[in-house]
């Protein structure tokens, strides 16, 4: 597919860039060769009919799934396929040439000179080929390393440390913890006191707990949950639970915030407040947002750019007005006759 860097995107640095991401579940290709760029400081939406692969793509970005092929760069660094056991990689280089070399020695020792020399030559060729592969690193080689868990994608918790926060389509708060504790858990990656610090009540721990608590209260009031810090998450009304999820994600100080259907099940007033919150998060905190959304008013109202997925493929991308008029999008949403 063609790379799709629009003139505006080229001007601003990309915070996230996915290239040729494919995710296959058995025979089903949920996401097929999707290129996707998010310029820093923008609000980007991902839409599409049910089953279009939006959430799958989202989970690849959030580190829950390894993509079958392709990769994701975050702030210029590859996020997927990061080496973890580099010491084991040389074993792969020797996996083919060394056994052939040993075989050639055995054959030579047995007196079959010609066959031995052929094998020796083969071992040499294989060695050169292995080294070339190791230097060039073609995709299948990386896939092999990934399968042998020498390379692997960043785990979800590492993604948070990198600076990506997320919410869930079906709210996944820690239901029996208070609102404050939920936000404190969200802060986990930004707190550093060790269990030993806590056990000995070192100043580091005490100070961190205090500032953490203050910050958590700040985040709660930022999303409009003043004085609810001691309420259990599950006792909060539905809309407030969605807000709490956003506060929890913001507490990890993300640079990119992934919101999976953040206004699902909300009434128009709540949706309006939510949209306003998105703009505030972008403008005041400088956080880039990626939305998956069904509510077209939200998508068209707040997004700088909209990407449409259908059957796992990207079918349109651009400013909301352009995408809205795109015949392929209308077809995907309303069926074939609608374009005529």
């Amino acid at each position: 597919m063609t790379t799709s860097i629009t003139p505006t995107a080229a001007a601003t640095p990309l915070i996230l860039s996915a290239h040729q991401v494919t995710k296959r579940f058995g025979g089903l290709i949920a996401v097929r060769e999707v290129d996707f760029d998010i310029p820093a400081g923008s609000i980007v939406s991902l839409i599409g009919p049910n089953g279009a692969g939006k959430t799958t793509f989202f989970n690849v970005v959030a580190g829950l799934y390894d993509p079958t092929s392709g990769g994701v760069d975050f702030m210029g660094q590859p996020m997927v396929a990061r080496p973890v056991r580099t010491w084991a990689e040389p074993l792969f280089w020797t996996a083919l040439p060394v056994p052939v070399f040993i075989a050639s020695l055995l054959v030579l020792g047995a007196g079959a000179n010609l066959a031995g020399q052929v094998l020796l030559l083969a071992a040499f060729v294989l060695m050169v080929a292995s080294l070339l592969v190791a230097v060039i690193r073609p995709p299948w080689y990386l896939a092999l390393l990934t399968r042998a868990s020498i390379f692997r994608s960043a785990r979800p918790h590492e993604i948070v440390t990198l600076g990506i926060g997320r919410t869930f389509q079906n709210i996944r708060l820690f239901q029996n913890m208070t609102a404050l504790e939920n936000v404190l858990v969200g802060m986990h990656a930004r707190l550093h006191a060790s269990p030993l610090d806590a056990a000995l009540r070192l100043r580091r721990h005490v100070r961190e707990e205090q500032t953490g608590r203050d910050q958590a209260i700040h985040w709660l009031s930022y999303v409009g949950l003043e004085h609810r810090e001691d309420d259990l998450a599950r006792n909060l009304p539905y809309g407030d639970q969605r807000r709490l999820e956003i506060a929890r994600a913001l507490a990890s100080r993300p640079k990119l915030l992934l919101l999976d259907e953040p206004t699902a099940g909300m009434n128009p007033v709540e949706t309006g407040q939510m949209t306003e919150l998105f703009s505030r998060i972008r403008d005041e905190l400088g956080v880039t947002l990626l939305l998956i959304e069904h509510d077209m008013r939200v998508v068209m109202g707040v997004s700088d750019r909209v990407t449409v997925l259908d059957h796992g493929e990207k079918i349109a991308e651009g400013p909301p007005d352009v995408v809205r008029a795109d015949p392929r999008v209308i077809e995907a949403y309303l069926g074939k006759g609608a374009t005529a």
Binding site: I159, A189, E208
Partner: protein, 408 residues
């Protein structure tokens, strides 16, 4: 409501009562906040009170009729071992939500560490006080080793693997003769020694008080540390992992290291218990660390109230005392009633000949069944656990309500 009725002038008596109640509530709140702030002081004071109250209660009727004070205090020291076990298991099961059925393994490792490090068998004469941290440390290491392969497992599968580990450890101790003296176990383990401090040298076998005070001090310190960790970043991570592992990972919690730490911190507490147990008994053998120990500790945690440190401690103490004293006294009591034997059809029932100790596990089982039916959150539940367990009921109630509303 009453406020709106008596808006102009509420009766003086009612207002006074309300005032008093309001003031009491405020003082209680202040007291609670202060206790929370000076938690370690509170724990120390509470344990000191416990230390004094237990022997005093043992002197009061009817308890003074059941045995001598010294026997009681020996029993309390043994109960303390189980309190420590329950405290550690509470971290694994109650906080992190990992069902561990092989917890006795760490107890065994602590005890054998003490036995190897401070007995004539190995020739090493390390003092008890140094063996305490060493035992805790070695149990923690084995906690990590057990934890590592089980991290991908949840619920039932994890329970089975830990059960296996719990069975393996005593078998290894039984068969590794050169290091553990096989089935005979290691005897003549060195006693704790204060080297003349407070006039005490070796603790001996006749005076239970040094053991009693020692175990209470160990429990106090363990409780303090566990409370602090529970209220820290790690403690929150444990609860978050228990509540929703996927969401916890997506919030930046390394679920692997969080669970490993739960295993090893739980194991280290158990290791402390093991070291004390070996030193007090002065001998260890493999059959002391069977499945019943794991099971008893788990029952203590569940009955006491998962996730609540004080509840678990109380649960462990109560169950231990019922086991060691209660059942015997129940037998004596029934015997004392002098109910004559009567026959039910072909059977002859002689209540006074029943030895209740033999029915220990039957009664245990009954208690567990009743408890789970009537009060699944345990005797002294943590607020969070109570909420969790009544969630389902409430959901059912709301469903019923909305269903009724829908029909109406």
């Amino acid at each position: 409501m009453s406020g709106s009725v008596h808006r102009d002038g509420p009766p003086a008596a009612g207002r006074n009562a309300n005032d008093v109640r309001e003031r009491a509530r405020r003082y209680l709140g202040v007291a609670r906040a202060n206790l929370g702030r000076h938690q370690s002081v509170t724990i120390t004071l509470a344990m000191a009170v416990v230390m004094v109250v237990l022997p005093v209660v043992a002197q009061l009727p009817p308890f003074n009729g059941f045995g001598r004070l010294n026997d009681y205090v020996f029993g309390f020291a043994d109960a303390g071992v189980y309190v420590l076990l329950a405290l550690g298991l509470n971290v694994v099961v109650g906080l992190a939500g990992l069902l561990d059925l092989g917890y006795a393994a760490f107890f065994a490792i602590g005890a054998y560490t003490m036995a190897y490090g401070a007995s004539g068998f190995s020739g090493l004469g390390t003092p008890f006080w140094i063996m305490l941290p060493i035992g805790a440390f070695s149990a923690a290491i084995f906690g990590l080793l057990l934890g590592a392969p089980t991290l991908r497992l949840r619920g039932d599968y994890l329970a089975i693997v830990t059960l296996g580990f719990g069975e393996i450890v005593p078998v290894v101790f039984r068969n590794a003769d050169p290091y553990t003296n096989g089935t005979n176990g290691i005897t003549s383990i060195a006693q704790p020694n204060l080297y003349g401090l407070l006039g005490i040298h070796g603790f001996g076998f006749t005076n239970p008080w040094p053991f009693y005070v020692t175990i209470l001090v160990i429990i106090t310190i363990a409780t303090m540390l566990l409370y602090r960790v529970q209220d820290s970043r790690l403690g929150r991570a444990w609860v978050a992992v228990r509540e929703d592992e996927l969401a916890a990972a997506s919030m930046g919690i390394n679920t692997v290291s969080t669970k490993l730490l739960a295993f090893s911190i739980g194991a280290s507490t158990s290791g402390l218990a093991g070291v004390f147990f070996a030193a007090k008994l002065s001998s260890v053998s493999p059959e002391q660390f069977g499945f019943t120990v794991s099971f008893t500790a788990l029952a203590m945690v569940v009955l006491g109230g998962m996730g609540n440190i004080w509840g678990v401690m109380a649960g462990a103490f109560v169950i231990y005392e019922i086991q060691s004293q209660g059942l015997k006294q129940l037998g004596n009591f029934v015997q004392g009633l002098g109910i004559p034997a009567f026959s039910v059809g072909p059977m002859t029932v002689d209540l006074s000949s029943i030895n209740f100790l033999n029915y220990q596990y039957l009664l245990y089982g009954l208690a567990l069944v009743l408890m789970m039916l009537l009060r699944p959150e345990g005797l002294f539940p943590s607020r969070r656990r109570r909420e969790e367990l009544h969630e389902a009921e409430e959901a059912a109630a709301t469903d019923a309500l909305s269903g009724a509303a829908g029909e109406a």
